[in-house]
Amino acid sequence: MARHNVSIRYSKLDIAYSWIFLMPVIIILFIAAFIPLLSGLFLSFNEYKLNMPSIPMHLIGLKNYQELFKDELFLNALRNNTLFAVVSVTIEMILGVMFAMMLSDDDKLSRFMTTIVLIPMVIAPVAAGTLWRMMLDRTYGVLNYFITLLGFSPVSWLGDPSIAIYTIIGVDIWQFTPYITILVLSSIKAIPKSLFDSARVDGASSWKLFSKIILPMSSPVIIVVMMLRFIDAFKVFDTVFVMTQGGPGNATEMLPTYIYQQGIKFFRVGYSSAIAVVFVIAMSLISYGYNRFRAAQLRRLN
């Protein structure tokens, strides 16, 4: 099929209007994002401890970055965060798409279930973390109560370093799967019905409908949702802070809790800025990768 490249010529006035409408956003972004980012970048090359005026801020070049990659707790937090993001987002995506498929019918039950599914998403992470912390308690928690009713020993969900991170992953999956469900559901519902009807006339099975129509047509949305969730998962703070504070030991320490510790508890402005800069660069690269992937997918669909 021949592709048409349509180029639209804009008048100077149109271009001027475009800039006028864009300027407020550009100014706000510049003030709220670029200036702090540049300031953070500058600080990351300095030694600066906020509560020690006796040692004024001074330039130390790349030393903060060198320290960063030798810091065993930073590397541990990076490992934990990567595991957390990969496992939780993967499972959330699979479950989210499954639930979206199940709820895609336009009947009363589906609409009712969609409302129910939303509940975990609307609870604040701090509140959800606190509730789960209580429910997961080994002695008084409701989950272990049921486990013991079934004849098993209670599990120390948050006290055992080999389990704690998976417990937090579980809570994250519980909370954010609905987010993926709702967005994927909306993209499924946007697919023209005629496509399904034609496919059914041709004798397509349910699996064929899913793999040949729904999944490809929803993939641009799925990719964007996956990217947003992945970035969000790297920014996880509240749930971990409330449930384990990074423990037992450092078993659930994540990058944001580590940055918080270095910057807000130790007042090491330079070092925490260096971690934040690395964090921003990593997230930007991931976003770039996802965007490329999404663009390729869109081209394929076109």
Binding site: E47, K49, L50, N51, M52, P53, S54, I55, L73, D137, R138, T139, Y140, S156, L158, G159, D160, P161, A164, T244, Q245, G246, G247, P248, G249, N250, A251, Q261, I264, K265, F266, F267, R268
Partner: protein, 423 residues
């Protein structure tokens, strides 16, 4: 022209009138100060005195409170950035060295008002409120770390750790859900508990001149003892904070509770609605081993340099730390006094909390009160928690503390002339 002149005159009158009313309002506005408190019994006590203080002085006090975990950052950022929001701050003694550059020296106020400073426990004051010969705060809550124990199960509190674990062996009965030790295993609590053991064994982090001495047998022994606690504790204890440890003890599921007694057991232990151990508990020091020195929690109250209401703030300090209020603090809020004369009051002498006095007299200390004190304590937290939960071996934990202490002291050295008065 004429109309514009009239209009101008009217406008002028309006401006003058508004300015006069505003100025009068400002002059008549009652004095108001804002105090930043740790949101526990300390803030509760302060709030209960606000009306009385206003009646006496005409000064309104707003109590702003934060939990321990976020208080430090609130206070730190406010002080370091010269924020004028707070006229008073309650400082945990371990933060003295960190916040000292931003706090007013109270010596002049004390001298001016001939304030009865001799009544403040001097040893305590050196650990809480005085830093590098400057008086930056007045201590008002003096709590050495003790343990609560069941008098019906334990009898006399053990004097050594061998005795202690012997009692635990006898009482350990997991089938009945009874674990002898209720320990808050979250990092920030566990490190303080470890310090109490370490110091009681005569362990030190550094000598008087800040030469690091942490790589020692006392450190290893203290780590081993701390890890052994968990053999007799609920398996979930590594994730427990103070409330969970208190709950286990108050529910009669433990014989010893390592949570701060003043924050939980003392408040609820004899309340039949909340406790199953009414009249069956007491407090005692940790097994004393060599020194009997334990960890200190003390709070002092000071005035930020940036405050614009320093005189009014000082009035509140005098009021809140007075003998009368310290006694009420104790009777109504379980806050232990910082004044010698208040400890001598029969109400306190006959209370279950009185053993705190003897332990305090032995010289409870806090960790390094230097600008990088929180960093040092965090290294201890990580080492202790990772060792106790089996993620690090003992050598890794000890070397981790040693390496980081040395680096920290090299990078952020204590001010010249400041000696290590703690451990």
């Amino acid at each position: 022209m004429k109309r514009s002149k009239v209009l101008g005159l009217v406008l002028l009158v309006c401006v003058v009138f508004t300015a006069t009313v505003f100025a009068a309002g400002q002059a008549e506005q009652p004095k108001k100060i804002t105090a930043l408190y740790f949101s526990s019994t300390y803030a509760d006590a302060a709030k209960s005195y606000v009306d009385e203080f206003k009646e006496k002085t005409g000064i309104t006090v707003e109590i702003v409170e934060y939990p321990y975990i976020s208080l430090y950052e609130r206070m730190g950022l406010a002080l370091a950035t010269g924020d004028t929001s707070y006229d008073l701050v309650t400082v945990a003694c371990q933060w003295d060295g960190e916040f000292e550059p931003f706090l007013e020296d109270l010596s002049d106020y004390i001298e001016r008002d001939n304030w009865d400073e001799a009544d403040i426990m001097q040893k305590l004051w050196q650990q809480s409120g005085i830093w590098n010969n400057r008086i930056i705060g007045i201590p008002f809550a003096n709590t050495p770390q003790l343990i609560s124990y069941r008098t019906d199960l334990v009898g006399t509190p053990p004097k050594t750790w061998d005795e202690f674990f012997g009692v635990c062996d006898e009482l350990y009965d997991p089938n009945k859900g009874f674990y002898p030790i209720a320990v808050p295993g979250v990092k920030e609590q566990l490190s303080g508990l470890w310090m109490s053991v370490h110091w009681s064994l005569d362990g030190r982090w550094a000598d008087e001149d800040w030469n690091v001495t942490i790589d020692a047998e006392e450190t290893r022994e203290a780590l081993r003892i701390t890890k052994r606690w968990f053999d007799y504790a609920d398996p979930a204890a590594p994730a427990w904070g103070l409330p969970e440890a208190d709950a286990a003890f108050l529910n009669g599921k433990a014989a010893f509770c390592f949570a701060w007694p003043t924050l939980g057991v003392a408040v609820q232990g004899d309340n039949p609605e909340r406790s199953k151990v009414v009249d069956k508990w007491a407090v005692a020091g940790f097994p004393a081993e060599k020194t009997g020195v334990t960890n200190l929690s003390s709070w002092d109250i000071g005035i930020p340099k940036a405050s614009k209401n320093k005189d009014a703030a000082w009035e509140w300090i005098k009021f809140y730390t007075s003998k009368e209020k310290q006694l009420t603090n104790f009777t109504d809020f379980s806050i232990l006094p910082s004044r010698t004369s208040v400890w001598e009051n029969p109400v306190i002498k006959q209370s279950k909390m009185y053993p705190h006095k003897a332990i305090s007299d032995k010289g409870a200390v806090i960790w390094w009160r230097i600008p990088a004190g929180t960093m040092a304590e965090t290294y201890v937290r990580d080492a202790v928690a990772n060792y106790v939960t089996g993620q690090w071996d003992i050598e890794r934990a000890v070397k981790y503390m040693e390496k980081n202490f040395k680096e920290l002291l090299a990078k952020y050295p204590p001010a010249e002339g400041v000696k290590n008065t703690g451990r």
